[in-house]
């Protein structure tokens, strides 16, 4: 998204992750892996993707979602496709 900085995307993503999976938003930092570090499973990832789509106006199909391993992957994806 041209008009939204990566910091803002990260902050928004943190809020979504906290809401969906109960992980503190502050723990959602770029280097973290959703599954291994934040303990978020594949179905919670779908719920996070759905909310991210609403919040950032992006499309995150299931096959793209599978490639978003780290928080940084997600921020980059939103930044490029928003």
């Amino acid at each position: 998204m041209a008009d939204v900085s990566n910091e803002e995307i990260l902050k928004g993503l943190g809020e979504i992750v906290e809401e969906v999976a109960g992980v503190a938003a502050d723990d959602v930092s770029l280097e973290k892996s959703f599954v291994d570090d934040l303990d978020i499973d594949s179905l919670s990832m779908v719920e996070i993707a759905v909310q991210a789509e609403d919040k950032f106006g992006v499309k995150i199909p299931d096959d793209e979602l599978a490639n978003l391993k780290t928080v940084n992957d997600a921020v980059e994806y939103v930044s490029k496709n928003g």
């Binding site: 499973d41 594949s42 719920e47 299931d62």
Partner: protein
Amino acid sequence: MTSTRPTLRLNPVVAATRILGVGSVRPERVVTNDELAQTMDTNDEWIRERVGIIERRFAGEDEKLVDMAVTAGSKALADSGLAPSDIDSVIVANCTMPSPIPNAAAQVADRIGIAASGAFDLNAACAGFCYALGVASDLIKAGSAGRTLVIGAEKLSDWLDKTDRSTAIIFADAAGAAVVGPAEQPEIGPVVWGSAGDLVDTIYMREHKYLYQEGQAVFRWATTQIAPIALRAIEAAGLQPADIDVLIPHQANLRIVEAIAKRLRASGGRADMVVADDIIYSGNTSSASIPMALDHMRAAGRVHRGDVALLVGFGAGLSYAGQVVILP
């Protein structure tokens, strides 16, 4: 030449309908997650966390879909206090008969002793019970049917590849039923239904043999598209989300059930709304899941006569349907 066309007479209309009784049956044999883990790469913890199922039931070779439908239907009839001769129509929602002919409904009617009944099967997969309840209610209101036995019955275990861990851990066998009849006051609200045939490839029978599904696509659809249908059903009945005492979504996956409940609460649904979780000990039994959950919740004293319940079914097709009912 002027012709005078005769005017056809119509049946007297009936103002309203209600549920008069419910019943259900599960096969005897309990199948635990540990048992499934012996034949496929899965485990108890994973199934509990992702799907919410602790155990399910599989029918034996000689326990057919029709047998379960007869048992559930007879129990619903007994619960209503009516005799077979008081019923004139039977609808069996199902999608797992062994072959397309014969249907289930005519045999079920005959075996319960409902003579010469109007009888047909209805296939809207896991949305089947809500579709059938809507159809029954409207047939009664139009005067086409009198008291009607509505059954959801499935033997999904016949259609599972027991090595496919995306289906074999979820689906199970059961039947649930309701007796529907005329009423003074409406106790069955308008059905809100629809379909999304563009997503047909996400759940279907592979090689006319095995149920196949794209789990994540179905999960995404169900967790986003079903709560809005539920809200439309509430609105169609002239109610508000806060009026709903009991939420009984199709028992597809406990995570989907919870997501629907969360969205309803975010739209004004009450925190103390009772939410069906029958999947835990029954698995996903497609068209049987909603009437069976209702029956179990009543037996457990979790819901009561007069409670306002929202039913919503969804599944292959993709198809969905929901309505508000007052519990018997």
